[in-house]
């Protein structure tokens, strides 16, 4: 691709994707609401853990933690108002974390299936 240099001085920066709200001002009441939810959920998860739900304990604790984390990501970290690219990067990061955890754990879960030590 050849390019001819442009005469006019200003040049338009690389085009961005549709929404670019990097300096969106989030109202304070949203922060306070998210904050209170996080505090409540912390104490909820602490109490729930003292109730014996057997295997379910793990899932309850993790789903509460995931909910709290998504609150922080979306509101405190402005990803809800950020560019589509930022959202993609966040999702890619979480997806690769899940990749690492589940594929490696797949080996640990299936180690005893064959019934032969070490296979």
């Amino acid at each position: 691709m050849s390019a001819h240099s442009t005469q006019h001085g200003t040049h338009q920066g690389a085009e961005f994707d549709s929404d670019h709200g990097s300096n969106h001002i989030v109202p304070v009441r949203v922060y306070v609401a998210v904050f209170l939810t996080l505090i409540v959920m912390t104490w909820v998860t602490a109490f729930v853990s003292t109730v014996d739900l057997g295997r379910l304990n793990v899932f309850v604790a993790l789903s509460i933690a995931i909910f709290k984390a998504s609150l922080v990501i979306l509101f405190f970290m402005h990803v809800k108002y950020g560019t589509r690219l930022t959202k993609m990067i966040v999702l890619a990061g979480l997806y690769w974390l899940i990749l690492l955890l589940f594929i490696a754990m797949a080996d640990l879960w299936t180690r005893t299936w064959m019934g032969v030590p070490g296979r």
């Binding site: 691709m1 050849s2 390019a3 240099s5 690389a14 594929i103 797949a106 080996d107 299936t110």
Partner: protein, 542 residues
């Protein structure tokens, strides 16, 4: 009327604009940082090459004549660490990538120039740690640092070596981060994703792997250092720790790392094959997306390093079938390169010689990888010289030849000097011949069952080892030549025109060597990629 010969008007460029050590060591110009990397990475490559020579010397005889077992183990470990972490991973992204990506997308510099300089200093700090390890006693764990040997039984400098690679990892992370943001946000107007050169696509995929993979080896080495230094047992079998977990964490990064090493070379080869065939790469979108596919699928296959390591066979099945899927994008690339040459106007310049060598050797390397990906075959062949031959065919035949092809292709642009065609072609042939003689016989050694990392071996393997050592000397000579004629060209080479090879990239639109801001005015891209009809420059006939 004799007029004084016109004063030799030395063009202002990024090399002579500012001078003095300070202007180099505190530069934020991506081109100068690339030159800094070139010097240091070449130094480490030479060091790693010396160790390779010592290994081949030792293995010429079955008995351990040259070194003690302990010394030999430290030598092959240092060869591994230096070549993998200090040459193969940084070589093309940090040198050619740093220099060319801003120019290829019409930008003045990378998104974060000071972070770019920081990543060079981090690379140097990692290098200092590794040299400290080298000069004070070495480490004998192999570049894979498997526990519990590395954490409780090795008497080498495992902690210092681990920290060296831990630090070096951040240099790669920062380079990857810089490239991703630059490619996303700083393309020239009119430069859509599908007008980008394939070199940029390849580096985008490489940076994604660096960002997603390198932190995992950082944490793995962090745990290893904790376990060995503070006796906090993460992988210690005495506490019920699982050494196979270390291997999972290690290979989660280290397999995608081999794609970090090969993808930039693939980018270079796409550029070189297209330029010297004067043809748009056949299946541009296929080659571009196969880079991204390699980056994504590359993270799903690390378990093929653990087939016999005590991993469950069911996990092995999954990893084996996924390893075959990840081989397909590489096959697509090779076939598309061949199709690019169809009906082209092919000029056999030095970069093209290395590119042809790359395609041939990388195909053999890739196919032997497909051989190792099958469970039944891997049981016999893993940890033997077959694996050594496989990954040298991909790393030396692939990544190194890609690096040399790129270096010879963009040398005129980087330094404004042409190098000797004759000597560079001689060196290409020597490297190709020496390489095949070194690593070809190792496939046969591998099937015979000679294990890797053996200081002493049974006498029936000697014939192949002697052949391999002979080949190593030819390869060594072939690799020394570029150091000679390239540095020679800096002073005595003829001046290079802006576009000596008739290429179509934006980097060829500006002078060689370029000015600090790359372009007087940011170019606007109006044509499709690789449009050779628009190239009018005089073409250098070697």
């Amino acid at each position: 009327m004799i007029t004084a010969p016109p004063p030799v008007h030395v063009k202002k460029n990024y090399l002579n604009e500012k001078t003095g050590l300070k202007s180099w060591l505190l530069t934020s110009d991506h081109k100068r940082i690339a030159i800094l990397y070139l010097i240091v990475v070449t130094g480490f490559f030479a060091l790693g090459g010396i160790f390779a020579g010592l290994i081949r010397l030792e293995l010429a005889t079955p008995a351990g004549d040259l070194f003690e077992s302990n010394q030999y183990n430290k030598i092959f470990t240092m060869h591994g660490i230096i070549m993998v972490f200090f040459f193969l991973i940084p070589s093309i992204p940090a040198i050619l990538g740093n220099f060319l990506i801003p120019m290829m997308i019409g930008a003045k510099d990378l998104a974060f120039p000071r972070i770019n300089l920081l990543s060079w200093y981090i690379y140097m700090l990692g290098g200092v740690f590794t040299l400290y390890v080298l000069f004070t006693g070495g480490v004998d764990t192999g570049w894979t640092f498997y526990t519990p040997f590395s954490s409780s039984y090795s008497n080498g400098y495992v902690v210092a070596a681990g920290l060296g690679i831990f630090i070096n990892g951040f240099s790669a992370i920062l380079t990857g981060l810089n490239f991703i943001v630059t490619i996303h946000r700083m393309r020239a107007p009119g430069l859509t994703w599908f007008r980008l050169p394939l070199f940029v696509w390849a580096h985008y995929a490489t940076s994604a792997i660096q960002i997603l993979g390198t932190p995992v080896i950082a944490v793995t080495l962090f745990l290893l250092v904790l376990e060995r230094g503070l006796h906090i047992g993460f992988f210690d079998p005495a506490y019920g720790g699982d050494p196979v977990l270390f291997q999972h964490l290690f290979w989660f990064y280290s397999h995608p790392a081999v794609y970090i090493m090969i993808l930039p070379s693939m980018g270079v080869i796409s550029e070189v094959i297209s330029t010297f065939s004067s043809k748009k790469p056949f299946g541009y979108t296929f080659i571009a997306f196969s880079s991204v596919a390699i980056a994504v699928f590359g993270f799903l296959v690390w378990g093929h390093h653990l087939f016999v390591a005590g991993q469950s066979i069911y996990a092995g099945l999954v990893f084996s079938v996924l390893s075959y899927v990840v081989a397909i994008p590489s096959a697509i690339k090779v076939f598309n390169w061949a199709a690019t040459m169809y009906k082209g106007q092919i000029r056999m310049e030095t970069p093209m010689l290395y590119a042809i060598g790359f395609i041939g050797l990388f195909t053999v390397g890739g196919l032997t990888g497909v051989v190792l990906a099958s469970l039944g075959m891997d049981v016999h062949l893993t940890d033997t010289y077959f694996v050594i031959a496989h990954f040298h065919y991909v790393m030396v035949g692939g990544a190194l030849l890609g690096y040399l092809s790129g270096l010879h292709f963009w040398w005129p642009k980087m330094f404004g000097k042409m190098y000797s065609d004759v000597w560079s072609k001689v060196s290409a042939v020597l490297v190709f011949a020496g390489f095949n003689l070194t690593f070809g016989p190792q496939f046969l050694l591998g099937y015979m069952g000679m294990p890797r990392r053996y200081h002493v071996y049974p006498p029936e393997f000697q014939v192949f080892n002697v052949l391999s050592s002979a080949g190593a000397s030819v390869l060594g000579l072939g690799l020394l030549l570029p150091a000679v004629y390239l540095t020679w060209s800096l002073k005595y080479g003829e001046d290079a025109p802006p576009n000596p090879w008739g290429a179509t990239g934006l980097e060829w639109q500006t002078q060689s060597p370029p000015i600090s801001e790359n372009f007087e005015v940011t170019p606007v891209v109006t044509h499709e990629a690789y449009d050779y009809s628009t190239v009018q420059e005089v073409v250098h006939i070697g």
